[in-house]
């Protein structure tokens, strides 16, 4: 799939950029957020929290968080949530990124 130009209504839309907040000591390491984050923003950390579990941490492309809030909804422990950082304007760069993403060339999506 390839976009040959910016969508005509790109002016009225924006890309939400989220900030993931993790309350590490509440985590029980079930892995739901890591597995089901649609943008694969999370991975298991090497650290231990106070309970002895490995809490999630952000992976390198953390700006991929679009503040969808699924991690917060699927977390059984009230240990993770997202906040809206900014509503970014859509640029051609974003289009390119999205195109790559959903063409499944992105390595992180191989497991799906």
């Amino acid at each position: 799939m390839k976009f040959w130009r910016l969508p005509l209504d790109s002016e009225v839309h924006s890309i939400p950029v989220g900030r993931v907040q993790i309350i590490e000591n509440r985590c029980k390491g079930c892995g739901f957020c890591i597995e089901f984050c649609p943008n694969a923003c999370l991975k298991e950390s090497k650290r231990f929290n106070a309970k002895g579990y490995h809490p999630p941490e952000l992976i390198f492309q953390a700006e991929d968080c679009v503040n969808c809030g699924l991690c917060s909804l699927i977390c059984p422990e009230f240990a993770i949530f997202t906040e809206l950082q900014e509503a970014k304007k859509i640029t051609e760069d974003d289009i390119r990124k999205v195109t790559t993403r959903y063409s499944r060339k992105d390595k992180r999506f191989a497991k799906r």
């Binding site: 000591n25 029980k28 089901f36 909804l73 059984p76 422990e77």
Partner: protein
């Protein structure tokens, strides 16, 4: 007789409050939770926390104030839900959440009374109460978390345990088939019947919201992983692996016939909203017929003793 008792240790309110301040308020959902009650008692990988989060999500979506709602729950892992929510919550006896909630809902008809309980509580010991409340169409929002076993007591077979499934009381395989809960709720007269799994939190939030919009007996079954009690003996893996199983094996079919919604061990899970009907609830009928007649001095008029 003389009594020799231990000295009582008084309740230290200040110490309790200091302990609460430590972790409360870090998460935006904390304002719906009783201070000092998190972490909850549920195992890692348990789906109950997800259902609780979704319930809070629905309250948020409907913009309900916490004083407009009350939650009643029975006994078991799901029974503990009530204790975490910062509203009027009632943790009753085993199986009796629905009759208790019936009394509460009839006494406070403007309050949204939700019943949060497990499959064992609602369909084994409390099965009779559930079918009658559905028949009467009492205004209750029943959320039944189904993990296919009695989790709190250590994974015994329950009314939803599928045929052949292993539990600590069916070590050689279950000889009984499990209940098809949506079918039973539908047949008993529930006006809204849906089923989701913990893999469908968005749909679940929406469904709970829809049930709040209706006046009458609504029933939502949520399939949730129980890695400790049910997953382990049946080799379903961790909570995460059970979630993957829900992802791979659930089929969303809105308006499906609930008769087809039976769940077999490692089988397909039909999810969706199966039933969304309307009929007057108990309180409306009671008001418009019984109370109106009595106060009009009609047939219900009592002789002066």
């Amino acid at each position: 007789m003389k009594r020799r008792l231990r000295e009582l240790q008084p309740f230290d309110k200040e110490a309790e409050e200091r302990a609460i301040e430590l972790g409360h308020g870090l998460h935006p959902d904390d304002k719906y939770l009783k201070p000092g009650r998190i972490p909850h008692i549920w195992c890692p990988g348990c789906g109950l926390g997800v259902v609780l989060t979704c319930f809070i999500g629905a309250l948020r979506q409907k913009q309900f104030g916490v004083d407009e709602c009350a939650v009643v729950s029975g006994i078991g892992c799901t029974g503990r839900v009530a204790g975490y929510l910062d509203m009027d919550t009632y943790h009753t006896t085993h199986g009796r959440a629905i009759p208790f909630a019936t009394g509460l809902a009839l006494a406070k008809p403007d309050t949204h009374v939700a019943v949060f309980s497990g499959d064992g509580d609602l369909f084994a010991i409390g099965g009779n109460h559930l079918i009658h409340a559905a028949r009467r169409n009492v205004n209750l929002k029943v959320i039944c978390v189904n993990n296919f076993n009695f989790g709190m007591t250590g994974g015994q077979a329950g009314p939803t345990t599928p045929l052949d499934a292993k539990t600590s009381t069916t070590p050689l395989g279950n000889a009984e088939p499990g209940f098809n809960l949506p079918y039973l709720a539908h047949a008993s007269g529930a006006i809204y019947v849906a089923r989701w799994t913990t893999f469908h939190p968005r749909q679940l939030v929406h469904s709970i919201g829809e049930s709040f919009d209706r006046t009458g007996f609504t029933f939502i079954e949520v399939i949730a992983p129980c890695p400790t009690g049910y997953g382990r003996p049946n080799k379903l893996g961790s909570g995460l692996e059970e979630m993957r199983y829900y992802r791979d094996m659930s089929e969303i079919r809105y308006g499906a016939d609930p008769a087809d919604a039976e769940i077999k061990l490692r089988g397909k899970i039909l999810v969706g909203t199966f039933e969304a009907a309307d009929r007057p609830d108990f309180m409306e009928t009671y008001r418009t017929q019984v109370i109106a007649r009595a106060q009009a001095g009609g047939k219900g008029k009592g002789r002066a003793a």
